[in-house]
């Protein structure tokens, strides 16, 4: 599945207000729950894992990839993206504060690999990454997503 097949326009929000990491994870998850793509239990599992294992999902400065295991409640492989108005702390040593959160849900180990590869290559291009951090319009983000799909 390509990145732009998983991360559709109605799964992207910019300038989102969240008071802390838990609320931010919930908002990213709700974009997928509202479309019946995942269950609430999936997002609860994400938060539970973070509380017990720490903020390892903060993969790069300012960026978290909220995810859990397929068995925790995924109906369809999908992804959402939120850009926060004010960044939040996850408690990560080097990558806090977080401004951009991807929520990734996958039905099996293989379904998401191509899109994840595309997402990682996007994250290696600093001017494209900058768009995710600063875009005021979702269309600007879609343009970057399409470029890497």
């Amino acid at each position: 599945m390509l990145l732009n097949e998983m991360l559709l326009i109605d799964r992207i929000k910019v300038n989102v207000e969240a008071k802390g990491w838990e609320e931010a994870i919930d908002i990213g998850g709700n974009l997928l729950i509202d479309q019946a793509l995942i269950e609430k239990s999936y997002i609860e599992a994400v938060k539970q894992t973070l509380r017990s294992l720490g903020p390892y999902i903060v993969l790069a400065p300012g960026i978290a990839i909220s995810h859990s295991r397929p068995e925790n409640g995924v109906h369809k492989t999908c992804m959402s993206l939120i850009q926060l108005k004010e960044p939040v702390e996850f408690g990560h040593d080097t990558n806090d504060p977080v401004k951009v959160i991807f929520t990734l849900a996958t039905t099996d180990k293989e379904a998401h690999l191509q899109s994840l590869r595309q997402l990682m290559s996007l994250m290696m291009v600093s001017e494209d990454l900058e768009v995710l951090f600063t875009a005021k319009d979702v269309d600007d983000i879609i343009e970057v997503i399409n470029k890497h799909s």
Partner: protein, 88 residues
């Protein structure tokens, strides 16, 4: 520079959490750390989670890690211990 090869044995390979542990460990040291995987024509920066995830390291993958710097021996020893613990 010193290099060492490993076979990755933990259940899901170097997904987000092990890759993150790897980078946290690597970042404690001064040496440059490079990672390669057999079958993939790319060299990853051992201090970047994204870079390591791009190598797509699975159970059974053979990887080569090189450390280059004043503390390269202790760096590679620490990474060896982490890999041998299966990132527990």
């Amino acid at each position: 520079m010193i290099t060492k090869k490993f076979v990755i044995k933990n259940e899901h390979g170097l997904h987000a959490r092990p890759a993150s542990l790897f980078c946290s460990m690597a970042s404690k040291f001064k040496s440059d750390i490079k990672v390669k995987r057999e079958g993939k024509n790319m060299e990853a920066n051992g201090k970047s989670v994204i870079s390591i995830l791009m190598l797509e390291i699975y159970p059974g993958s053979i990887i080569e890690i090189s450390a280059n710097g004043v503390d390269e021996v202790i760096t590679l020893n620490a990474i060896t211990a982490l890999i041998n613990s299966n990132f527990e």
